[in-house]
Symmetry: C2
Subunit: 359 residues, 2 copies
């Protein structure tokens, strides 16, 4: 008796043995045809509100939940989107995913994350057998991987959106990191004292490189130069993305110059290290040592870190929107959505002098 029928027996079966209800059961219970159930499932307008309600109730009572595989097979849509992202568990990606998820869930789309552990894995992901490929659309975070493939196109016919990366062939959503760097430079240049900067290292692998840190630094140096402030080569410190890098940098800087020091850290996590080390050394923040971070990490507010905020959630949400539009058939040319960072001033820098500092 592979398919137990009959209410009471069925009810008596342990949860684990119950067959998942299908559209058939729902139709029967609601007293409608299969097509109608499918229509309410797909928000088709041509369903009487009353009928819709009846079907919805039946689904509720049965605990019905649609089978994405069947939907994919029948209708070409699985209602799930893949997000390919680097295998690094930072707050940035957590926030990005939240942003993406917020709009996807609203449209009843599901998302599957695919951390890119290695190039080999990535290539497999993009083989058509793989689930990542068989979802309805792809969001690529941070890596512009197109150059890994022939013709500079990803081997998929489904819509693709890049976030935190750019490529002329695809829709992309990115932060103007250079502008962020400029904001940082212009701001710190208003204070008296020496100016320093900490740059975060980037991955050596070409295809996997994202250039955000270089862009931030480029903008920063531009602004410093425009402000007419000196920036000797030794005032740049390069480190991995870690608080420790910030600590070491501060000690290094203190050998080069005496307070006040104005430090731009290319990432909040690094800025945090500067902050901590300054406190340990008994240096007054916002006075002897001024630190400005980049990212708008949640902890920045807690510790009073001035920082260049990037609207990560908004970027994620926008990327999801672009993708949704493509999945709904939009066929226009690739769109580039540029986000602008903003400076948030807190105790770690204090307030700049009324009169701009002129060297």
């Amino acid at each position: 008796m592979p398919y137990p029928e009959g209410g009471s027996f069925h009810e008596a079966l342990p949860q684990a043995m119950k067959k998942k209800p299908t559209i058939h059961e729902v139709a029967a219970r609601a007293g409608v045809g299969l097509g109608t159930v499918s229509r309410v499932l797909n928000n088709h307008p041509a369903v009487r509100p009353e009928t819709r309600a009846r079907v919805l109730r039946a689904m509720e009572e049965l605990g019905y939940t649609p089978n994405p595989h069947a939907r994919r097979i029948a209708g070409g849509r699985s209602y799930t989107v893949s997000v390919l992202l680097p295998f690094v568990a930072t707050e940035f990606y957590r926030r990005l995913i939240e942003g993406i998820e917020s709009v996807l869930l609203e449209k009843r789309y599901d998302l599957a994350l695919f951390p890119i552990l290695s190039q080999a894995r990535l290539k497999r992901y993009l083989e058509s057998t793989t689930l990542a490929f068989l979802t309805d659309g792809l969001i690529l975070a941070s890596y512009d991987l197109t150059e890994l493939f022939g013709e500079g196109r990803l081997p998929t016919e489904r819509p693709v959106v890049l976030v935190d990366a750019r490529n002329p062939r695809y829709d992309s959503v990115y932060l103007d990191n250079r502008l962020g760097g400029r904001l940082a430079g212009a701001y710190l240049a208003r204070f008296p004292g020496s100016i320093f900067a900490i740059k975060v290292e980037e991955e050596p692998d070409r295809a996997f490189r994202h250039t955000v840190f270089s862009e931030r630094m480029a903008g920063f140096l531009e602004a410093i130069k425009e402000a007419g402030r000196p920036f000797p080569e030794g005032h740049l410190y390069v480190t991995r993305l870690s608080a420790e890098g910030g600590r070491l940098a501060l000690r290094h800087f203190l050998e080069k110059a005496s307070p006040p020091l104005n430090i731009f850290a290319g990432a909040d996590q690094v800025a945090l290290g500067v902050l901590e080390e300054a406190q340990r050394l008994g240096l007054t923040l916002g006075k002897e040592v001024r630190v400005l971070g980049f990212d708008g990490h949640p902890f920045a507010e807690e510790v009073g870190l001035s920082t260049i905020v990037q609207p990560v959630e908004a970027m994620g949400a926008r990327a999801a929107q672009l993708l949704l539009e493509r999945m709904q058939g939009y066929g226009g040319p690739p769109r580039e959505v540029r986000f602008e960072p903003t400076l948030v001033e807190r105790a770690s820098t204090g307030t700049p002098p009324e009169a701009p500092y002129l060297p």
Copy 2:
């Protein structure tokens, strides 16, 4: 003309417009029935080698690749396995995934990773609509999440295997961390000098806690005690999983005692910090400062770090095997597979004295 027919025109279409070949095309090209193609796809023995070869060739020529959604729908199997793992990108997980993948790929199974960003996400994962749930089996890494759900069972009927965690209801593969700690303790107790230990903090959230670090430390303290060596409370330092923790710990320890120091670090990453800081301070490794790590991180060999090695890849592979067996219908009681760590001696500890050290 939604479905272009006719060889030459078809060939001329750009890659992107080609319809993916299906089992029908393969059957036609190989001159066999659909069933036969399906049989070779599923390694069914009842296919003449000659026929099989013909079908295989047709698939090759057509670039055919099976549609997992259809397979799932028709046969109840999608040939993909979900791995649920913490959202932390450490070498441990990288290696674990490699181990799992190695045996899965061999059986032509695919795997999809689901990083657990939050409890909310996890619950969604386990709702039946979600892809994670609809794969053929689940591997849960590090978290024993069963207590999140009623009756202590995950809300899935598919087989589940835990790795790096244990639960009596499911197959599990784990390392004997306590034994590892004991090995470390017994080993360091053979050296003269003070004994110190660095423990890695664990997540506060109950359901998401894994207790490996506590177990390591418990075993270590046991062995130290059995060896009759003193271990004052102040000799334990607790820190996050980072090299910096190791640096700070060493400085802290040096205030407590003079060299030689024998230090057990609960994780290689932390041990690395100790190592670096010792070098920075000009202390001779393996003599003034002896460091023993835990994990068998790839860099341990490079830097000459003695460590307790855990066979992560093997653990992953074993977990995949257990899961495969379940998916193939094995219905026996839950199995616990225990792995034993081993000590690898390198320069960071030097060689212990011939005669055991007796306090």
